[in-house]
Amino acid sequence: MNDYTWLVPLPVVLPLTGAGLALALWRHGRAQRVITLVALTLTLVASCLLLVLADSGPLVVDVGGWSSPVGISLVADRLSSLMLAISSAVTLAVLVYSLAQGFADGDEETPVAIYHPSYLVLAAGVAIAFLAGDLFNLYVGFEVLLAASYVLITLTGTAERVRSGTIYIVVALLSSVIFLLAIGLTYSATGTVNMAQLAQRLPDIDPGVSLVLQLLLLLAFGIKAAIFPLSAWLPDSYPTAPAPVTAVFAGLLTKVGVYAIIRIQTLLFPEGRADDLLMWAALATMVVGILGAVAQNDIKRLLSFTLVSHIGFMIFGIALSSEAGVAAAIFYVVHHITVQTTLFLVAGLIERRGGTTSLDQLGGLAKIAPVLAILFFVPAMNLAGIPPFSGFLGKTGLLQAGVTSGTPLAYALVAGGVVTSLLTLYALVKAWNKAFWQTAPADVPVVRLPRAMVGSAGALVLLGISLTVVAGPLYAYTERASHDLRARIYIEAVLPEGGRGSGVSDDVAGEETQGEETQ
């Protein structure tokens, strides 16, 4: 325990306070912008501090002074704080992009009064989900970020957004209901929802019941992470939203699902009984997703399908159930959050410059807008996994971990991963050829791209490149994070000696949960 635990709730508190202020000041657009910018900047600072501090052991806060299995705990271990840091960086960059878009276009696409509070709530929800120390708090985090995402995806309520938003919301609600059911059953089986305590108690309950709980949780998170065959909602709903919204959804929302899967697979169910199932799901996600991308003729839809496809890589790493596999998966999540967000932001710029996202009607952009071409080319090659970019390093890590594991299924996944990378390259090169080469269509609108929009997209491109530069330390960090997860130091951190966190709790409250074990 050190004195910096007060930092842990900040990534939740700051955006939520900002959201409240922004809502109260809904008439004052300028004040709202400043509030959002300040709140997210401070969140980024707090998250980066956590990233450094968590490297010397998890930081645990027992909220309200109630000790751990009774009260709610927030836990920032290496995995959580790494996710927090990268997601705060991405949310801030996307915010700057949307501010610039707002200045250039007026408030048509992003009505400030609604957009800013929802965006802050989304950031807070993501932070709650990353920091949650018990399953129910994780559920609340999911609901907070989903509620904000419902508002953002149907922003301005056009016919197309209402159509796609309806499907998105119904699917998300269904997955929440499944998650809730899983929590209810977990509680009746173990008498707790605290993750550390669950990790201690789950091995004692009937293995069949434990498997049912695991599969229910995987189903709920699988829908959120868009794992095939639970991914069909994603490519239809994301592309219709405004570019910054799509970008932040693509970067963060599915990764929160992936984070939850990492957490339950390593902490609650370390036996790896669902690994084969996850392996097959990962293979299907990679291959089906990328085949969808190859068939697309619209750049935003193409990117949505690559998003689904590359979720498969992360699931592959998790399903390997080895230290190397999980480390590579975490690295891949960090890489993918950055690169996928960048690509969607750049797609927004392409739409602005070329007037459309249809690859048939774009052309010659390399000549018309050379800076834009660079902004697209670098993250595209990064996503496809061309050395020396971080995509290559992440994929290499995954393939190495797969080969080390050595099972026939792992080899099949390695082959599937290589094929998927090649097809990603094919799909992106096709997009490049059609949009940036070829002769330009006759009627390209003359638009100047706002500096700050290009600047924020450029900053994310640089962040993507810098992941290569700091790949050594970063990869070492993910390896330590993965080691923590395998060693399950989480339990010891939340429930130090005697199974009680710091803080107050009556003994009666402790006994009360004991009885339920006897089911």
Partner: protein, 165 residues
């Protein structure tokens, strides 16, 4: 201290009926029915928390009820949270259904534009998209989306949507 954890049969049956009816309604086309389905399933799941809390007991307040006879307060707290969340989501979906009615005069959940397009193209056995280099005819998703009509829309439905001005 052991607690009687035998599930209450009435609750289990009610949960089964609610979830079954809810799932049936969710498979409908109309968003209002889907919404009712979600509410039913949500309530069914909320009831599982009552099963999870074991046999009913007295109010869980120290000094009021003997500790052994208290009912478990934690699932009740969780179920309250879940009810509030469901309420908020229901309100949002209702607003969305109303918006859909404003725009289209119905609240049917429409087909994926691309599904529709692929089905049509497959019926004619055409290429998935026309190549700019070889052909003049261009079909893209925006236009198809604009042209796509629901089978639920009747032909006399060309009037301006209520919400548009």
């Amino acid at each position: 201290m052991t607690v009687d954890m035998t599930p209450n049969l009435t609750l289990v049956v009610v949960i089964g009926v609610l979830v079954a009816a809810g799932v049936y309604l969710m498979l409908e086309r109309s968003l209002s029915r889907v919404l009712i389905g979600i509410i039913l399933v949500g309530n069914g799941i909320n009831l599982t928390f009552l099963v999870a809390s074991g046999a009913a007991g007295g109010a869980p307040i120290v000094g009021m009820t003997d500790t052994d006879e208290m009912s478990d307060p934690l699932p009740q707290a969780m179920v309250l949270t879940a009810i509030v969340i469901t309420l908020g989501m229901t309100a949002f979906l209702l607003a969305l259904a109303y918006r859909s009615w404003q725009l289209h005069r119905h609240d049917e959940v429409q087909d994926d534009v691309e599904d529709r397009r692929i089905a049509r193209i497959a019926a004619y056995d055409q290429a998935i998209y026309a190549d700019m280099d070889t052909e003049d005819t261009v079909s893209d998703l925006d236009r198809d989306a604009a042209e796509a009509r629901d089978e639920t829309q009747s032909s006399d439905d060309d009037a301006e949507p209520v919400g548009a001005r």
